[in-house]
């Protein structure tokens, strides 16, 4: 018997969830961009530990935001508002 395919539910583009996904994506890009900027400053302006620390922290926060974004999408699947 042929199994019926279920279509993925469309995300309401004007919901808080959709806006949150956009925001987390922008924040993740900022984190990695800022990390690259801080690393460039560290390499060009001499070994300032502040720049290296900021680079490491921003890359870590970028990774953290990706993990959070995946968790958020998974968790809110149980909330029936889409």
């Amino acid at each position: 018997m042929r199994q019926r395919r279920t279509l993925p539910r469309r995300i309401d583009p004007m919901s808080l969830k959709a806006f949150h996904i956009v925001f987390i994506t922008a924040s993740t890009l900022l984190s990695f961009g800022f990390g690259a900027w801080a690393l460039r400053e560290y390499l060009s302006e001499g070994a300032s530990p502040t720049n290296l620390t900021m680079a490491a922290l921003s890359v870590a926060s970028g990774v953290g935001l990706i993990v959070y974004g995946r968790y958020f999408l998974k968790k809110l699947k149980t909330v029936g508002y889409l």
Binding site: D12, F19, H20, V22, F23, G33, W37, T50, M54, L76
Partner: protein
Amino acid sequence: MEIPYVVQPRPDTGLYNAKLGIWLFLASEVMLFGALFSSYILLRIGAAPGAWPHGLLNIPIGTVNTLVLITSSITVVMAWASLKLNQFNRFKMFQGITLVCAMLFVCIKSYEYYDKFTHYEVIMTDGMVADGHLVEKSDTHITLKHVAVFHEGEGTAGDHHGEHREEMRIEAAQIRKMENYGPWHNTYLAIYFTLTALHALHVIGGAAVIAYLWGPGSRMWKTDPERFTNRIEISGLFWHFVDLVWIFLFPVLYLL
């Protein structure tokens, strides 16, 4: 007469009234901030090569403020999701954290402003410039701390590499011009204060709405929970917009 679509979405638009209203409002906000961002870009590319100031702002402090706002966006969504899951106490907790983050952001921003208003550029009669923070001011002299001393016209403010002194006393008779780093100091600071003050006003306005819905406004949860949850979503949408503006402001003003 009952107003339709207060809670349930209109079939043709798929939106309830308040959501349509907030998106129209956010569209007008995009135009407001978009115009200011465009002004910044035009002023920046129109500046003479090497004349645009760099290094005037404290990047670690700006980074902390960015993290504070990102955290508040996460908690505002968690607060809304808690209501969807019928967990009112968790909503209170998450929205409380959002308010703390909002207050923290405003406090840090105020400190940054204070730092700029006490930061002086003093041009002396011999053509030297002393750039530092004001400690003391009287009719006869001023005292600056963390001072950089360099020749007038040597580099731009913030990235000069002159002589550095911990403290410096300057007699009033030696001073030709003295000005703090307020919005009147240069074009960059004018647009910096305009954009960040407008943004801070939005943070304060958003926090006031969130505080009302966290406090007295939360009584609606008992009488009309679905409508209350929608109100939280609307305040969350506005909060996300304000935070997204900062995500663009931070690299533009602090890094580039």
